[in-house]
């Protein structure tokens, strides 16, 4: 009995030793990839050192390489791996069909956690008293809002991408004072092109002079979106169907130790068509070593939002 008990303790200690101070998540694929590419990607993710996998269509309901049922099936399958799997949902919900698709995801029989990206999802999930994650397109700009959503069943929130570290710190300390900080997890969109806007208009169809209702699924030809430049060839935005994204890649790898200190629980990597595993490995290295030697400037990426500047800015963090 005593030996068994000791064994249990050792196991727990080992678990504790293994536990990471901050988890890595892979966000939903925001682009439109062929089905096989999606399936291959998630096979890779099972092997990659990520703790949380978000998946599902979060941008456009017309995309159908995987239908809602197939996303749910895939999620249930991946969930057997021991990684946490979260079903992600559309950010812009306008049509009846979009609402019924959303309902299907929220009602999933596998008890999978759902990421709400529109208040419609928050409503459906809270009405059923189901726990949920609030994605970065839910407008949480202060601790009062955070508490309202926590009381509705929110377990984790992803900070809106335009907020900075100072605001995040203030929100978390306010949440501490209000006595609920330990009941939620905080996730930060830490790598990838930033989702900046959602429209009724499809910009990918527009660039091909197609009406949106006959878009011919143009997005599938652009696995990382379409570059939109200024007339001086400056990379400005990325067109991704109805979504507009940043032209540059947001990159907070050097800021991971700072995020850990602030109490961030999850860092999110947004999938790109190539090299996502390498990015995840870099995050894992920084998390495990507790320090970052990666030079942002060499990467030509942006990080301005984190420092309270224009999102497109590159700020050299002297603390790193």
């Amino acid at each position: 009995m005593a030996i068994e008990h000791l064994g249990y303790l050792v196991e727990q200690l080992n678990k504790f030793g293994d536990s990471k101070p901050v988890k890595i998540s892979v966000g939903p694929i925001l682009y439109y990839w062929p089905k096989q590419q999606v399936l291959d990607f998630y096979q890779q993710m099972l092997e990659a050192p990520v703790d949380i996998i978000y998946l599902g269509e979060a941008v456009c309901s017309k995309r159908h390489e995987l239908r809602t049922d197939e996303w749910i099936e895939l999620a249930a399958e991946l969930n057997k791996s021991g990684k946490q799997v979260v079903l992600s949902t559309l950010a812009l919900i306008e049509a009846r069909s979009e609402l019924s698709g959303l309902q299907k995801v929220c009602d999933n029989n596998d008890g999978l956690l759902v990421e709400a990206n529109d208040m419609a999802a928050v409503q459906m999930l809270s009405e059923q008293k189901l726990p949920f994650v609030c994605g970065h397109s839910i407008n949480i700009y202060n601790a009062h809002t955070l508490r309202i959503l926590q009381q509705q069943g929110m377990q984790r929130w992803v900070m809106p991408v335009e907020l900075n570290r100072e605001t995040l710190g203030n929100i978390l300390s306010d949440a501490g004072e209000m006595g609920f900080a330990d009941q939620i997890e905080t996730e930060v969109f830490s790598y990838g092109k930033l989702p900046l806007a959602y429209s009724a208009r499809c910009f990918t169809a527009r660039m091909r002079n197609l009406p949106k209702d006959d878009c011919r699924y143009s997005c599938i030809d652009y696995p990382d979106g379409v570059a939109m430049q200024t007339q001086e060839d400056e990379k400005l935005f990325t067109l991704n169907g109805i979504q507009t994204m940043s032209g540059s890649c947001y990159d907070l790898i050097p800021q991971v130790p700072e995020m850990v200190d602030m109490g961030v629980n999850v860092v999110r990597v947004s999938p790109q068509s190539d090299g996502t595993e390498k990015i995840i490995e870099q995050f894992r290295e920084v998390i495990d070593s507790g320090k970052s030697e990666t030079s942002l400037i060499a990467r030509q990426h942006c990080n301005g939002y984190w420092f309270g500047q224009s999102g497109m800015d590159q700020v050299l963090d002297t603390a790193v």
Binding site: A91, L92, I93, E94, A95, E98, L99, L102, D118, M119, A120, A121, V122, Q123, S126, S137, N139, Y141, N142, A143, H144, T145, I148, P160, V161, E162, L163, E166, T167, N170, I171, L196, A197, Y198, S199, A200, R201, R206, M207, P211, K212, V226, A227, M228, Q229, T230, Q231, E232, E234, L236, F237, L239, T244, S246, G304, Y305, Q309, S310, G311, M312
Partner: protein
């Protein structure tokens, strides 16, 4: 349908009231409202005068406190709500859940309208705001088609207001960060989109250039109409073609849709333009008043008059109007 008109200043408020507004909406002189521009909006004294003027003439006053409160400024948003309540306004137009909660707890009798910045595009989202904060009305984002507006109206637990005329956001309001990506200020955080402080005009050999925080937004040749460099309305390069990759400079005009909006059960029409001059406000309010009054008597054979369309086109961005999300290419 109630006609809700913009009042960026006391003179604009007066002409809106005199030209036939059923209600006017205004904001205070700080970042608590989504038109936080220099020289615009109301201090305490002006707000009092505005209220007196409108109430005497039986016109309602709504106050927009519709940006997102951040921790450092939380008190400012609270005080704005307190001030509006003390003024005796008819309703607050609010986006932030924290501010909605504060208002409905402290002033349960004060009518709350969900701002377009609240970004509720469907009845489930509307239900959330109704159940949790008791909102009585919501302003729908300008991204919905007519069928979608009808669906929302059919199932909405609250009255709905839609935009009738003015500058057109093509992105779902309240969830657009294009401006902060380029300039560090956004509608959500600061009440500003493509803020004037970041605008620069330059005459160059290649043409007249408009820049926002040094980023080239557009370049105009002689004879071309140069518009304010709102980010989403510039000409950019995609696949080696230069065009209005997101949207042309144009104004939304839904005057033709009055019968359909009314049949759908829409309770109010909002005119955009708190940043515009009193002359502009007078023009658009007068036309819309006449249109709504005409519709009230000519219900079955309402057609917009040519002169209404002409005078609205003249004051439109790029002197053109669009049905926006109501038109087919958007759907």
């Amino acid at each position: 349908m109630e006609l809700v008109c913009p009042a960026g200043s006391l003179p604009a408020l007066r002409v809106a009231v005199d030209s036939g507004a059923d209600a006017v909406y205004m904001g205070f002189k700080d970042d608590t409202n989504a038109r936080h521009f220099a020289g615009l909006n109301f201090n305490d004294r002006k707000a009092r005068q505005a209220l007196d003027y409108a109430i005497d003439r039986k016109v309602k006053v709504f106050v927009a406190i519709n940006t997102y409160a951040q921790p450092k400024g939380w008190k400012r948003w609270q005080e704005a709500v307190d001030r509006a309540y003390d003024l005796g306004v008819n309703a607050l137009i609010v986006a932030d859940m924290g501010v909605l909660e504060y208002t409905c707890n402290k002033y349960p009798d004060l009518a709350l309208h969900l701002s377009v910045q609240g970004s509720a595009t469907n009845h489930e989202a509307l239900k959330f705001y109704h159940q949790n904060f008791g909102i009585r009305r919501a302003v729908l984002p300008r991204v919905l088609s007519l069928a979608q507006v009808k669906l929302a109206a059919e199932k909405s637990p609250v009255d709905l207001e839609v935009f009738g005329f003015g500058s057109l956001c093509i992105m779902a309001e309240g969830r657009c960060y294009l401006s902060s990506y380029v300039t560090d200020e956004s509608p959500n955080t600061c009440g500003a989109c493509s803020p004037a402080k970041a605008v620069r005009w330059e005459e160059t050999d290649l043409g007249r250039e408009s820049r926002l925080n040094d980023v080239l937004i557009d370049r105009y040749q002689e004879g071309e109409n140069a518009g304010y460099p709102t980010l989403c309305k510039g000409r950019f390069k995609v696949d080696d073609h230069v065009y209005n990759a997101l949207e042309e400079p144009t104004s939304l005009n839904t005057i033709r849709l009055i019968p359909e909006l009314s049949a759908a059960g829409i309770k109010a029409i909002k005119l955009e333009g708190r940043q515009r001059s009193p002359a502009y406000v007078e023009q658009i309010v007068r036309v819309w008043r006449e249109a709504l009054d005409t519709y009230a008597v000519e219900r079955d054979n309402f057609t917009p008059r040519g002169e209404w369309l002409d005078s609205l086109s003249k004051v439109s961005e790029g002197t053109q109007t669009t049905l926006g999300a109501y038109s087919r290419p958007w759907q």
